[in-house]
């Protein structure tokens, strides 16, 4: 264990350079979130992730954001356990009927100002599950969505680009 720690100290962290924020997401945000809300938050956002029916692929990649290569917390972005502590709801999945009430309750429990990020093809459009009797469809059918991140599942880099766009936007004056 100490040999690994010593090596890490000598070589420096494995953390990699961040990608630039996603331009499309920035444009999408610019039209939606008002400046007053942005001023209040500064450069730090708390994220509550809600799986609303995903196959778990998106969760794996969101989890990967916390590994040493991506080290999400260095940007001031951190995952929190309660929607009451959150600025951002990061929602995945084609919103199943069985999860829609829980999702709406989590959204209501999130204090304003808040952003909703729909992550993954299912959350954006219903994905391969679109049209099922058991699904409400895209997240926007259940709660208002501010940013979409496509991908099946979106890679950690794509997720980071989208989340950095939210951060960038929230800090802009």
């Amino acid at each position: 264990m100490w040999s690994i720690i010593a090596r890490s100290l000598l070589r420096g962290p494995r953390t990699e350079k961040a990608p630039p924020p996603d331009d499309t997401a920035l444009a999408e945000l610019a039209s939606k979130v008002d400046a007053v809300a942005r001023d209040r938050l500064g450069r730090s956002l708390s994220i509550r992730q809600v799986d609303a029916g995903s196959c778990n692929g998106c969760e794996l990649e969101i989890n990967a954001l916390q590994n040493p290569y991506y080290d999400l917390e260095r940007f001031g972005l951190k995952f929190v356990a309660s929607p009451r502590h959150a600025d951002v709801l990061l929602v995945t999945g084609p919103v199943t009927h069985n999860m829609s009430e829980a999702l709406q309750r989590a959204w209501r429990a999130t204090p304003d100002p808040k952003w909703v990020v729909a992550a993954g093809d299912c959350a954006c459009s219903g994905g391969v599950f679109a049209g099922s009797y058991a699904c409400v469809g895209p997240v926007s059918n259940a709660i208002p969505v501010d940013v979409h991140i496509k991908g099946c599942p979106p890679t950690p880099t794509q997720l980071l680009e989208g989340l950095l766009a939210v951060l960038e936007h929230s800090a802009r004056r």
Binding site: V50, C55, A64, P68, T96, M99, V128, F129, P153
Partner: protein
């Protein structure tokens, strides 16, 4: 003890079903089966419905035979098997929710997947019954959880902790209802079905390509294994075999998936015992595997790369060398992490003796994967029934008897080593030739049992003459593992639940379908 096939010798065999016999049994024979199961060692691998029929897949461990029994039930009723095989309980409840079948004598008649929120009842039956979403539904709060009774409860000695469906971490949704006496969990009751997406209905009428894509999204962490089970079932139905090179490439992907998930679990279990060092290291190794998968197979999780007929992507020389270097690098680092894990008494104090599952329980439930193997059940689908290329490769199936969190950690560590051995052998012996065969277009029925990282996945398909899917059922290993988590947690402290849960790492998506 009777031989399963002998027991069924007087029943008609459905000829178009491969590779195991599918045998049509009448009400009397099914009734006999229900009566015989308590005396026999036959394992119930899966039970699934169809409009007006119920199927059960059985494994006779002595000669190692498999059979599917089908009982037509035009009135919907069939004798429940869940008293003799408790693993069938939730499967029967699901068959009732989806098809309107009636398991007679079932010890638990509550709904399972149907939370009262779909626009119809019995969505997969011939005639689903429309339901207005405004009608007072069986709301989550209305679900009749098991009552808390007894002297301790009357004296106010028990309290309940409801958790979920949304959990505190970045994990899938489900509800856990703990009944606790102080810190000790007296009972855990699970309620699942929150991520039910109606996959079995979506499969109907789809082309093989579309259905394969759905199969790859049953459980994202097992996308290779589920796609493989679907592909092998389709190949059985059409009586074709994937080319040898495809078998090897499938095995490389399946073992990479196993390594990646076991690394993730190893790190996450240690992190739940507040030892984040191993999480940081193991998640880095996991990321290395996913990046290698992306470079060599075109997708980090290798989604849509295993297809009916073969694989969708070939592996070339620089990739072979890169994968060899990758696994060669992972092996010593995992051994190092395992030594660190074993050398931390404060960590072992949390994992040893925690969340123990008895051997007779994993056998009764036919629980597979690390849950079964950590409690002495040696079953591994790569060995029994076995499928290529594993019959040509050398590997061990690690077995432990302790059945606790520690044993499930060590099964994973040893399986990482075995998977690396398998990947090295596959890379060494990778045969030349095509990576896929064209598929004929005709009707047929097939079944496949495939070993995912979590355990054995059973997929059954029925194809129409035009090559589309009539019916597809995929039984994720979680169905037979989730109920054992309830048993594992009993008598442990509430604070050890995350540790127990993570050591099982059951799939919600794969279970809820």
């Amino acid at each position: 003890m009777t031989d399963l096939i002998q027991f069924l010798h007087d029943c008609p065999v459905v000829s178009r079903h491969r590779p195991w016999p599918r045998i049509e049994v009448d009400a009397a024979k099914w009734q006999m089966l229900a009566a015989r199961l308590p005396m026999e060692e036959w394992e119930l691998l899966a039970l699934w419905g169809e409009p007006d029929a119920v199927h059960v897949a059985l494994h006779d461990p002595q000669p190692g035979t498999f059979a599917v029994l089908s009982r037509a039930c035009p009135g919907g009723g069939f004798a429940s098997l869940s008293t003799a095989r408790p693993g069938a309980l939730r499967l029967e409840r699901a068959a009732r929710d989806l098809f309107g079948l009636v398991p007679e004598g079932i010890p638990d008649a509550r709904p399972w997947l149907d939370h009262g929120r779909w626009p119809m009842r019995r969505p997969l039956a011939t005639a689903p019954e429309p339901r207005s979403l405004d009608e007072p539904a069986a709301r989550a709060t209305d679900y009749p959880f098991l009552p808390v009774t007894g002297k301790l409860a009357e004296q106010g000695g028990l309290h309940q902790i409801p958790v979920g469906p949304i959990h505190a971490g970045i994990i899938e949704p489900g509800h856990f209802r703990f009944t606790a006496n102080g810190e000790t969990v007296v009972r855990l009751e699970e309620r699942l079905g929150y991520v039910h997406k109606g996959i079995e209905k979506l499969m109907q009428g789809r082309t093989l390509a579309d259905a394969a894509s759905l199969a790859g999204r049953i459980s994202g962490d097992s996308t290779v294994a589920h796609a493989l089970a679907f592909a092998r079932a389709v190949e059985a139905a059409l009586d074709v075999a994937a080319p040898p090179r495809a078998h090897y490439l499938r095995a490389i992907m399946a073992e990479l998936e196993r390594v990646a998930n076991h690394l993730g679990d190893f790190g996450a279990i240690c992190n739940d015992a507040a030892f984040s060092f191993i999480l940081a290291e193991a998640s880095t190794l996991r990321e290395d595997v996913l990046r290698a998968a992306h470079v060599n197979f075109g997708h980090r999780l290798m989604m849509d790369k295993v297809i009916p007929g073969g694989v969708a992507v070939d592996l070339f020389e620089p990739g072979i060398e890169a994968l060899r270097r990758l696994v060669g690098r992972i092996r010593p680092r995992v051994l190092h992490l395992a030594a660190i894990y074993d050398g931390k008494p404060s960590l072992l104090d949390r994992t040893i003796g925690t969340g123990t599952v008895a051997r007779n329980l994993v056998q009764r439930f036919a629980a597979g994967g690390y849950v079964g193997r950590a409690s002495g059940r040696a079953f591994d689908a790569r060995r029994t029934p076995g499928y290529p290329p594993y019959d040509d490769l050398e590997f061990e199936v690690p077995i432990l008897d302790e059945g606790d969190v520690h044993a499930r950690v060590w099964i994973r560590i040893r399986e990482i080593g075995e998977s690396i051995r398998l990947i090295e052998q596959c890379l060494e012996r990778l045969p030349g030739g095509a990576i896929a065969v064209p598929l004929p277009q005709h009707s047929g029925e097939g079944i496949a049992l495939v070993e995912g990282f979590r355990g054995d996945i059973l997929t059954s398909v029925k194809l129409a003459a035009d090559g589309t899917v009539v019916r597809c059922h995929a039984r994720d290993p979680s169905w037979l593992q989730w109920p054992l988590l309830e048993a594992a947690v009993e008598g442990n402290i509430v604070a050890d639940f995350p540790l127990c849960n993570k050591s099982f790492n059951c799939s919600y998506a794969g279970h809820d379908l």
